[in-house]
């Protein structure tokens, strides 16, 4: 390992960072704010206190978990744009179990609710995988459609059957019992963050240290070579979409049990699509996605807090995220660009069949 090996990566990082900051500067100036105080307020809001760190981590967990799933799909040449739907179904599973079995002990109820949330996401992602593998329907289309279905199912339930009768008319479920709520370690580390680390490790293990990971990456890089090698493309497709869905479903369940405690129809502020950006910036690797996801969570949390202290509009976070994706792709045609190109190539093959 020599330093030369890292120079391309460093260059790409510098391009992305400088470009993103430049766009952010323009946005901040356009909003009529002082860049220095704004930056100070954002950093304080993200990392300035134990509470800020805890908020940053909480904000990072669902998007990172979903992004890990998107990353696995990218490596297999598949687009999972269904993160939001999988998150909603995951949260629905978790809220259902939590409200149905309020008397279980936390040691039983927490993993039970998380597991059912994960299972819900797995099924939701798996549907897109099966449609792709068996009926050759583009997962780009089906995952987006499944988002709508999931959203309106949840919307119907929280406006009707699951609406909290004691609430003040908001379309929200009852709050889940304390036995289902995730603990925070030392008032600093939410348990969701631990799950996020474990999930990132498992994704790394899967992609880099298992035969299945070699198959996933193999199908993503060459369908013809994988066919020749005897890899079943449809099995890998279904497996990958199910994994992606399970991770997003877990993200939804964790956000419900560790942060929001109630399910409403604006449960996800667009984590599913942010996750696509995060996975791209992370170049489809577990570590890259984890780091990017935490950074995005901190940024969002910091800007939310700065909204109060320095009147920074929250849209700045979205602008920065979008700029970061752009500049990562610009600075890195070989990495992120390749993920997109391959996935597009697979989609185009599908269209021409």
């Amino acid at each position: 390992m020599t330093i030369e090996r890292f120079i391309p990566a460093l260059t790409r990082g510098a391009v992305a960072l400088i470009g993103t900051l430049a766009v952010g500067l323009v946005a901040v100036l356009a909003a009529g704010l002082d860049p220095v105080t704004t930056l100070q307020a954002i950093i304080d809001g993200a990392l300035g206190s134990p509470y800020a760190i805890r908020q940053s981590l909480t904000e990072a967990v669902p998007v990172t978990l979903t992004a890990l799933g998107v990353a696995v799909a990218f490596r297999a040449g598949l687009f999972n744009l269904g993160g939001d739907g999988q998150i909603y179904i995951g949260a629905l599973g978790a809220v259902g179990i939590s409200l149905l079995f309020p008397d279980l002990t936390p040691a039983l109820l927490i993993p039970f609710a998380l597991g059912v949330g994960m299972l819900g996401g797995l099924i939701w992602g798996g549907i897109a995988g099966v449609l792709r593998a068996k009926l050759r329907l583009s997962e780009i289309i089906t995952t987006i459609m499944l988002n709508f279905i999931a959203f309106w199912i949840v919307s119907y339930l929280v406006h009707g059957p699951l609406k909290d009768p004691g609430g003040s008319g908001y379309p929200l479920t009852r709050e889940i019992p304390e036995a289902a709520q995730l603990p925070v370690f030392g008032d600093l580390i939410p348990s969701g963050a631990v799950l996020m680390l474990v999930a990132a490790f498992c994704v790394w293990l899967l992609l880099e240290r298992t035969p299945t990971g070699i198959k996933i990456k193999g199908t993503g890089s060459s369908a013809s070579a994988s066919h020749f090698a005897g890899v079943s493309m449809s099995r890998v497709t279904i497996l990958v979409m199910a994994i992606a869905g399970a991770l997003a479903g877990l993200g939804g369940a964790v956000s419900l049990q560790g942060d929001q405690y109630k399910l409403g129809d604006f449960f996800s502020p667009g984590w599913g699509f942010d996750a696509v950006a995060v996975a791209l910036i992370g170049r489809g690797t577990a570590a890259g996605t984890l780091i990017t996801g935490i950074a995005v969570g901190a940024l969002r949390s910091g800007i939310q807090s700065a909204q109060g202290t320095a009147e920074v509009p929250s849209s700045i976070a979205q602008i920065l995220l979008a700029a970061a994706v752009l500049f990562v792709i610009v600075g890195n045609a070989e990495g992120a660009g390749q993920l997109v190109r391959r996935s597009w190539a697979r989609t185009r093959e599908l269209a021409s069949e």
Binding site: E208, P211, G218, S221, S226, A229
Partner: protein
């Protein structure tokens, strides 16, 4: 004879492969000129150069006595050269008229498009509804749309790249009729093919390419099909009849009995094929591409189930490769297309060396250090340069890529090796390496089946040689009885019993 097209001294190489090696070609006005050669002989490259799709390294082109150097198809069309590819490059989602307008006819409005088509069709009958969507048309009509589109641009030379490969016999007759009408107008047609019978039917003159070189141009009346076949496959290279008696072969490792394969359109791809490959011998199957090599290879690879007949490996039914992990596969499989089938071209070599049915891991996890070390010793053993497990095959030369495929496939200690065109596109040294490796496997008692369109290769390495023609196999004959002219005839379907079958 005035030459309408004159290509002189054309040289084009792709990396280490020389596709065209000092090729010259003259096409007279008003003739159908066949360009004959095996796949990979350089026919399409030569025509892509004429059409501006490929820029030659050396050489000059004249069209109608004027020197041209087309940099793109638009230049070529301006110079009067049009080309129709095997798979017509018309846009499926658009109508016939819209496709014409894409080519620059009319101003883009629907009325002007239809008008432009009407103008064209006055001189050249199209017999297609201009409002029909291209993807609703059969391949033959798509081809015709593209031919007419070329002619509408006023091209004087029309290049057709293996147009008959996608047509039924009836459609081929129609196409030949169109070609005759085109040359009657004083234009010329260059007709790329590897089918001898078509040359005799439609062409006035024929130029034969072999291994990127022009072997000769002939008036069709002056040369027989058998002579053309010899020209096409070559005969001056090493004659190995001095090789000695065939060695005693051992037990049958691979057996095909009465194997038939039927294509998607119901056409017969393999016709009642029997084949036996024994331990300690190389059976080589010659044949012009498209005569059943692909389905035969896929069946031997375990990627395709024959529609009837049985395939035995060591007296047991050959397992299908649907997914991995069921049992160790003791067959080495060398695919034809190493870039797309043999390798994950952008993945590190150590993963490539594992990517196959024998990938497994203790307790589900891969020991990466162990794998990288294994990869390094395999790469060194097979002489891959550089022997770096972390680089991707895209950084290697073709010969080294093929060595990686061999290293992976032979590392599982197979008792049967199936290889398709194992040396295609390699330089002489790398070809030598691969053939020596196959011979060494034979000497070590493995059974080796080589399916190759390179007749020289088949004759050089085969202990027994068979010929595949239209899905039928001329039973492999022992090498010391090989008659080169007879094989050439068999490849062209000109043996007496082949003709009898065709008539029957």
């Amino acid at each position: 004879m005035t030459a309408l097209v004159k290509m002189s001294g054309i040289v084009k190489s792709f990396g280490e492969t020389i596709a065209n090696d000092d090729v010259s070609l003259e096409i007279a006005a008003g003739e159908v000129h066949a360009l004959l050669g095996e796949n990979g002989a350089g026919k399409t490259t030569l025509m892509n150069i004429l059409y501006g799709l490929t820029i030659p390294d050396e050489g000059t082109i004249e069209v109608g006595g004027v020197a041209v150097a087309p940099r793109n198809p638009a230049d070529a069309i301006d110079a009067g050269v049009g080309m129709v590819h095997q798979h017509p490059l018309v846009v499926g989602a658009l109508t016939v008229a819209e496709n014409f307008s894409l080519g620059g006819l009319g101003d883009g409005s629907p009325a002007s498009m239809l008008e432009a088509v009407a103008d064209v069709v006055q001189t050249i009958p199209l017999e297609v509804d201009p409002r029909a969507r291209i993807d609703s048309l059969p391949m033959s009509l798509r081809q015709r749309v593209e031919i007419v589109r070329c002619l509408a641009h006023g091209v004087r030379v029309l290049v057709l790249d293996e147009p008959t490969a996608v047509l039924t016999p009836n459609e081929v007759q129609q196409l030949f009729g169109e070609m005759e009408r085109v040359v009657e107008q004083g234009r010329s047609v260059i007709f790329i093919t590897h089918k001898l019978a078509e040359v005799q039917t439609i062409a006035q003159r024929v130029t034969v390419l072999r291994h990127g070189r022009n072997v000769g141009s002939f008036a069709v009346g002056d040369i027989t099909s058998a002579e053309l076949a010899e020209q096409m496959v070559g005969r001056e290279l090493s004659d190995r009849s001095a090789k000695g008696a065939p060695r005693a072969a051992g037990a049958a490792r691979l057996e095909l009995r009465g194997v038939c394969a039927v294509g998607d359109d119901g056409e017969c791809l393999l016709d009642n094929l029997d084949l036996e490959v024994c331990a300690g011998e190389i059976v080589a199957i010659a044949g012009v591409e498209g005569n059943g090599q692909r389905p035969l290879a896929d069946i031997c690879f375990g990627l395709r189930v024959p529609d009837s007949g049985e395939v035995l490996h060591d007296d047991e039914r050959l397992p299908q490769l649907r997914d991995w992990g069921h049992s160790k596969v003791a067959i080495a499989r060398i695919p034809e297309d190493r870039r797309h089938e043999g390798l994950l071209i952008d993945s590190p070599l150590w993963e490539n060396l594992r990517y196959g049915p024998n990938l497994s891991a203790k307790r589900g996890l891969i020991n990466r250090r162990h794998e990288v070390a294994r990869a390094r010793s395999l790469l060194e053993e097979f002489g891959v340069v550089p022997p770096d497990p972390m680089v991707a095959p895209s950084a290697l030369s073709g010969g080294n890529q093929q060595k990686v495929v061999l290293a992976r496939e032979l590392s599982s200690d197979p008792d049967l090796v199936v290889a398709v065109n194992p040396t295609r596109g390699l330089d002489i040294g790398a070809q030598r390496d691969v053939r020596d490796r196959l011979a060494a496997l034979r000497d070590a008692g493995r059974a080796v089946l080589v399916i190759s369109t390179d007749l020289d290769e088949v004759i050089e390495i085969g202990d027994r040689v068979g010929v595949l023609y239209r899905g039928r196999l001329e039973t492999p004959i022992a090498q010391n009885a090989v008659d080169r002219a007879r094989i050439g005839k068999a490849m062209a379907g000109l043996l007496d019993d082949q003709q009898d079958r065709a008539e029957a």
